[in-house]
Amino acid sequence: MNRTMSNISIRVENLSKRYRIGQREPYKALRDTLTHALHLPFQVLKKENDRAGSHEKYIWALKEVYFEVEHGEVVGVIGRNGAGKTTLLKVLSRITEPTEGYAEITGRVGSLLEVGTGFHPELTGRENVYLNGAILGMRKAEIDKKFDEIVDFSEVEKFIDTPVKFYSSGMQTRLAFAVAAHLEPEILLVDEVLAVGDAAFQKKCLGKMSDVAREGRTVLFVSHNMGAVRTLCTKGCLIENGKILLQGKVDEVVSLYLRKCQDLTSAISLAKRTDRRGNGSLRFTSVKLLSRDGEEIAAQSGKDLVIAIDYVTDSQSEKHAEVSLAFTDLYGQRLFTCLSRSSHQGGFLRLPGKGQIRCIIPRLPLLPGRYNVSRLWCKIGAQMADDIQDAFHIEVAAGDFFGTGKLNPEDGGNVVIDHGWEIL
C-alpha cells in the first residue's frame, strides 16, 4: 500500500450503495419465507424479472462516488436530507458494506454518527464512559489516562457515580460528547452530532472540533449548519442524489448548495405527498415564497416574506378553516408557529373551493440558515383536513434586519427580534 499516496487519507473509487426502497430493507418473518418456499419454482422466474427491473425496487443511496481527501484536510459534507451523506459516512466507517466499488482509508479511523452510542441507563456515568469509550474504539488504558479530562469536560463530575438514568438529557449529552471529544483517531468521521445539547455546550464542542482540525487530523464532517461548516472546514463536498456534485473550497461548495436550496424553494409541490393525514376535504398542493409584490423570491432576513400555499378542496362551498405552520430549526427545535386562529382577525379563514392561502411574515425574523416547516396543517371546523409533517424547508439568506447596514452575527441564535436601545 506504499504507493505514492502517502498524502491521501481517504480515497473512494466508484463507490455505490443500494438499499431497498424505504431506505432500509424490511426484515422478513420466517413464516413468510416458508410460504414463499412453496412457490419456489415461480420465485426463481420472478427473480429473473426482478433483476431486469431492479431499478424500480431499489434506490441507490450512493452512485459511483469518487473522491479523495488529503491528509489533514477538514471536509464538510453537505447536501439535502436523503442525499446520501450519512450513507457515505456509514460506508466509510464500515457500518454498512458498499454494494460496489472501493474505498481506501489510511490511518486509524474513528467514527461518530451519534454521541453516546451504547450508553446504558442503568450504568453509572463512570461505567458509561468506559463502555462508550470502548465502543468508539478506545483502549482501556487510553480511557484510564483521559478519564479525569473527560469528566472535567463534561461538567458532571458530581454525578459521575450516579446511574445515567437519573441524568437530565443535557447532562447525558455532555458526558457523551466529552467521551467523543477525547477520541484521537487520525481520521474522524462525524455526522450531525452537534444537533444536540444547549448552545453554550455546542460552542464548546465546536471549539474542541476546531482544535482537532488544527492538530492536522483528517476530518469528514456532515452538517446542516452552514456556519459550522464554514468555520471548521477547509474543503467542502456537496452530495445530491447519491452523487458528488462538487468538491472544492468550502465557500464555493456552500454557496452552490445555498443556490440549489433556493432553486428548490421556488415552488414546492405538496400534491404528491403521500405521508399526510387528515380527511382530505382540503389538500395543500404547492408552496411558493413571494415578496409583497407577488414576485418569487428567496427568503431573506428582515425582508417581508409571503408564504403562498395553493390548495384544493372537495367542494365549491366556502369553508371555515384554520391553518397552522410550525417552524423549527434543523435540529427539530420549535421556533414559532403561525396559527391563523390566534393571529387572523375574525378567527376562521373563509376559503373558497380552490385558491391560495397567504401567510405574511413582515420583516422575517430569522437569521441566515435553513429552517423547516415541521408541520403544516389545516382544520375545517373541528376536523383535520390536511396535515403534513416536514412540509418544506426555507433557506434564509443574510439580510439587514435592523436597517443599520450591519448583519447580525450568525452564531447569535436562530431568531432576530426587533428591539432598540435607550441611554438615560
Partner: protein, 286 residues
C-alpha cells in the same frame, strides 16, 4: 477488510490501511479483527453482567433460584412420584448436576438469539465485528454458571459425595458445553436477525431439547437401538459427562462424545462463516 500494513503489529498508532469493498467468499472470517476487538468484547460481557444484576432485586440469587427450583420440582414429580432411576445417586443431586450445564446452555442460546436485535442501535451507529455480540452473550452467562455450580458443590458435600479423579475431565466438559452453546447460539442469532419470529420459537426449542437430553432421567432409560442417535445430541454428552466427572456414576465419555464434538466444531465453524456471510445483510435489515 483490514489488511496489514507491516507496521501495524508494532503499534496501533502507526498508520494502518483499511480497504472497504463488498465482501466476497464464504470463509472470510477475519479472525485477526476479532482479536483486535477483544477489549470491546470484554466490555460487552461486563455490561451484560452488570446490567443483569442491577435490574433485579435479588441480583445473583437468580442464578441459583432457577436451576434449584427446577431441581426441587423434578425431584418431587420425577424422583418421588414417577420413581425415575438416578443411577445410584440421590435424585436431587442427579437432577441438579444436569441442570447446572443445562441452564447455562438454555440461557446462553436464548441470550445470543436476541443479541443482535437488542443491540440494533449500536449496530447502526458504529462498526465492530458483529460476531462479538452472540459470543459475548454466551460468555456473559458464565458467572451464573459459576454460582449455580458452587451450589452443586455444596450439595455434593451435603450428600457426602467425594469426587474421583474423573473430576479432571471437568474443564474439557465445560469447554465442550460452551462450544455447544456458541454453535447453536450463532445459528439462532443469524436466523433471528433475518427472520424476526425465530425468537418466539426458541423457548419451544429449548423445552423440546430439555426432554431430549438426559436432565430428568438417565440416558440408560433410552432404548439401546436409539442410543447412537440420542448420543449425537451434544448436550447428552455434556450432561452424562458432568455426572460421570462429579458424581462418579454412569459411563465415562466415549467415542460418541468425540463424534458429537466433531459435529459441534463443524456446526460452529459453518455457523461463524454463515454469520459473516450474512453480516452485511443483517446491518441493513436492522
Amino acid at each position: 477488510m483490514k489488511t496489514g500494513n507491516p507496521m501495524d503489529s508494532m503499534s496501533r498508532l502507526v498508520s494502518s490501511t483499511t480497504i472497504i469493498r463488498p465482501s466476497k467468499g464464504f470463509f472470510s472470517i477475519r479472525w485477526k479483527e476479532l482479536w483486535d476487538y477483544r477489549e470491546l468484547f470484554y466490555f460487552l460481557i461486563w455490561r451484560d453482567i452488570k446490567v443483569r444484576y442491577k435490574q433485579t432485586v435479588i441480583g445473583f440469587a437468580w442464578a441459583i433460584i432457577q436451576p434449584f427450583l427446577t431441581m426441587v420440582v423434578f425431584s418431587i414429580f420425577f424422583g418421588k412420584f414417577a420413581k425415575i432411576p438416578s443411577e445410584g445417586s440421590p435424585y436431587p443431586l442427579f437432577a441438579y448436576c444436569a441442570l447446572v450445564p443445562w441452564t447455562y446452555f438454555a440461557h446462553s442460546i436464548n441470550n445470543a438469539t436476541n443479541s443482535i436485535v437488542e443491540n440494533q442501535r449500536l449496530i447502526g451507529k458504529i462498526y465492530f465485528p458483529r460476531m462479538i455480540l452472540p459470543i459475548s452473550a454466551v460468555f456473559s452467562q458464565f458467572p451464573d454458571f459459576v454460582i449455580s455450580f458452587s451450589i452443586l458443590i455444596m450439595m455434593m458435600f451435603f450428600y457426602g459425595v467425594i469426587p474421583t479423579a474423573n473430576l479432571l475431565w471437568l474443564p474439557f466438559l465445560i469447554a465442550f458445553m460452551s462450544l455447544t452453546a456458541l454453535a447453536v447460539g450463532i445459528w439462532l442469532t443469524t436466523f433471528n436477525a433475518i427472520y424476526r419470529d425465530v425468537r418466539y420459537a426458541v423457548p419451544f426449542l429449548i423445552q423440546f431439547w430439555l426432554f431430549a437430553s438426559p436432565v430428568a432421567y438417565p440416558s440408560s432409560l433410552v432404548p439401546e437401538r436409539w442410543r447412537t442417535f440420542y448420543g449425537l445430541n451434544p448436550m447428552t454428552g455434556v450432561i452424562e459427562g458432568f455426572r460421570w466427572a462429579l458424581l462418579g456414576k454412569g459411563d465415562p465419555p466415549q467415542a460418541l462424545l468425540l463424534l458429537s464434538l466433531t459435529v459441534i466444531l463443524f456446526v460452529l465453524f459453518v455457523g461463524i462463516a454463515y454469520f459473516r456471510r450474512m453480516e452485511g445483510a443483517i446491518t441493513d435489515v436492522i
